[in-house]
């Protein structure tokens, strides 16, 4: 039985949600900075070299002056991992209230762009909070009494797509779909490459789309899927993405993707639902773990895809 002394207070939730959003908007995670540096070192085309250099300078300036790294500050959202033994004062209704308020506050304080509008009337509440906005997604973790929230500010009107493929299309079909998606979005740099590509493979349509986005936004650049067949596909797709030659900003260059992450879900025996999402070069996310005693730890790795989250079979 969890006692009230171990309930996470809403003031801690409020602070964590606010600061995770500030970090996401302003601070490019170290894994991305390193990936951009490597890309710059490898790059053979002068214009692409110049642009990559500017991106690294921009990342430094954003931190030095506490400015959002991109003028399109994306759509703030939350991925929440809840320890199975965690309890929150005010429950998850209270938790979600704090998350929504934190988005409105950071939008004003950082002068983030008020991006969220009514899809028909275009009415803008001015604070990035509205119907189903910010979205809050949950997963759970056994043997833990903390709650973690990851703020993601994904930008981009371009570069996401879904298609139902069939076993007869096979891996070649997946490759072709990736090429199609990049050809329509990395041209002229519409999706703002170098991107982290997320591929959602299998499940149902909505799962494929959801896992493609989680794969793009919540893995770590350079990691691999634990399933060796999936990891092999990741490597092949990564090579393919970079052979397209679109490069940063679509000006022509050696790095179009910093990484390709594939997530799978068991699917209908007759189909291969496949979805692609792209996390643009404004690779914005930050994670806060809120401990039961109210202490908050911030970190860059979301640790979203835990073995429990990807579990199979009946336990």
């Amino acid at each position: 039985m969890v006692t009230s002394a171990h309930r996470i207070g809403l003031d801690a939730v409020s602070r964590a949600a606010y600061e995770a959003n500030r970090l996401a908007a302003v601070v490019l995670p170290g894994e991305a900075t390193n990936a951009f540096r490597d890309a710059l070192e490898r790059e053979s085309k002068p214009m692409a070299q110049y642009v990559l250099g500017q991106i690294l300078e921009n990342a430094d300036l954003a931190v030095a002056e506490n400015r959002p790294m991109c003028g399109d500050t994306g759509l703030p959202r939350f991925y929440v991992k809840v320890g199975n033994e965690a309890a929150i004062e005010g429950g998850f209704v209270g938790f979600e209230r704090e998350c929504r308020r934190a988005v409105a506050d950071i939008t004003q304080d950082l002068q983030m762009r008020a991006n969220r509008v009514h899809p028909l009337t275009r009415q803008n509440p001015g604070n990035n909070v509205g119907v189903f906005a910010p979205s809050i997604d949950y997963s759970f973790e056994p043997d833990a009494d903390w709650v973690e929230l990851t703020a993601v500010h994904k930008g981009g009107l371009f570069g996401s797509d879904y298609r139902m493929l069939f076993p007869a299309d096979g891996i070649d079909g997946i490759k072709r779909f990736l090429l199609d998606t990049l050809s329509s979005s990395a041209r002229r740099g519409l999706s703002c490459p170098p991107v982290v590509v997320g591929v959602g493979l299998g499940g149902t349509k909505d799962q494929a789309v959801r896992f493609s986005k989680e794969a793009a936004c919540l893995r770590v650049i350079g990691d691999s899927h634990p399933d060796p067949d999936v990891a092999k596909l990741e490597d092949e797709l990564m090579e393919l993405a970079n052979r397209t030659g679109f490069g940063v900003m679509g000006v022509g260059g050696d790095t179009t993707a910093l990484d390709v992450n594939v997530e799978i879900a068991y699917t209908h025996t007759g189909g291969i639902p496949v979805a692609v999402s792209q996390f643009c070069l404004a690779y914005r996310r930050a994670t806060a773990r809120i401990h039961a005693d109210g202490a908050i730890e911030y970190r860059e790795d979301p640790r979203w895809f835990t073995p429990y989250y990807r579990r199979e079979g009946i336990e």
Partner: protein, 214 residues
């Protein structure tokens, strides 16, 4: 360069040049184009008298105290979708430089920009928002915030060494992205070799990856 720009300054620009710009510019995208160009609302000030440079952007900015605005970060949005508004914008408001993201088609340059002596520039990176945001010297005014919302409003801003900006479509008929695309397309066909079309096609499907989709 300094806005407003002279014809000579515009003519000196060539696709592929990288420039920095100072002086007043105004923001306009979906909201302003519709309000001003389609619905015919006159801007509350003589835009053409002030500047001939516009950016297709809604800034990351807010009203920090009543009537006082601050921009923290700035980036243009993909401009191709505003091609239909360009004739009215260039002809009626005397705009000579449109700063967007990723440029527009060569047809728009040939049919609209070049006859009006106007150039199309692109922000770079993309996503150099902090660098661009720092070059905002001051927000002169924000028009139509109630009508269009703060993000789609017309922001009048004064820039100080705003850049780097890529000259995309110049008045001599050259486009930087068109050239880059030619080079990229040379290698693209090879990647598709041996990858057959999906067994179940989609209506309206375009099978040639080397084309522009706008």
């Amino acid at each position: 360069m300094t806005a407003p720009l002279s014809d000579g300054a515009i003519a000196s620009l060539h696709a592929g040049d990288i420039v920095y710009l100072s002086g007043p510019i105004f923001t306009a995208r979906d909201g302003v184009y519709r309000h001003m160009l389609v619905e015919g609302n006159e801007p509350p000030l003589d835009l053409a008298a002030l500047t001939n440079v516009t950016i297709q952007s809604s800034p990351a900015g807010a009203e920090v105290s009543p009537g006082e605005y601050r921009i923290s970060s700035l980036q243009a949005t993909a401009g191709f979708r505003y091609a239909r508004y360009m004739p009215a914008l260039l002809e009626r408001f005397g705009v000579k430089m449109v700063i967007g993201k990723a440029g527009m088609s060569e047809e728009v340059y040939r049919d609209v920009f070049m006859p009006n002596g106007a150039v199309c520039l692109s922000t770079m990176g993309y996503g150099l928002g902090a660098i661009y945001g720092k070059s905002v010297k001051r927000v002169i005014d924000v028009h139509w915030p109630e009508e269009l919302g703060i993000s789609e409003a017309l922001w009048l801003i004064e820039m100080d060494r705003f850049g780097p900006l890529l000259v995309e479509g110049d008045i001599h008929g050259d486009s930087y992205f068109s050239r880059a695309n030619e080079e990229i397309n040379d290698g693209l066909a090879e990647l598709y070799e041996g990858l057959s079309s999906p067994v179940f096609r989609r209506l309206g499907e375009e099978e040639r990856p080397e084309i522009e989709l706008f």
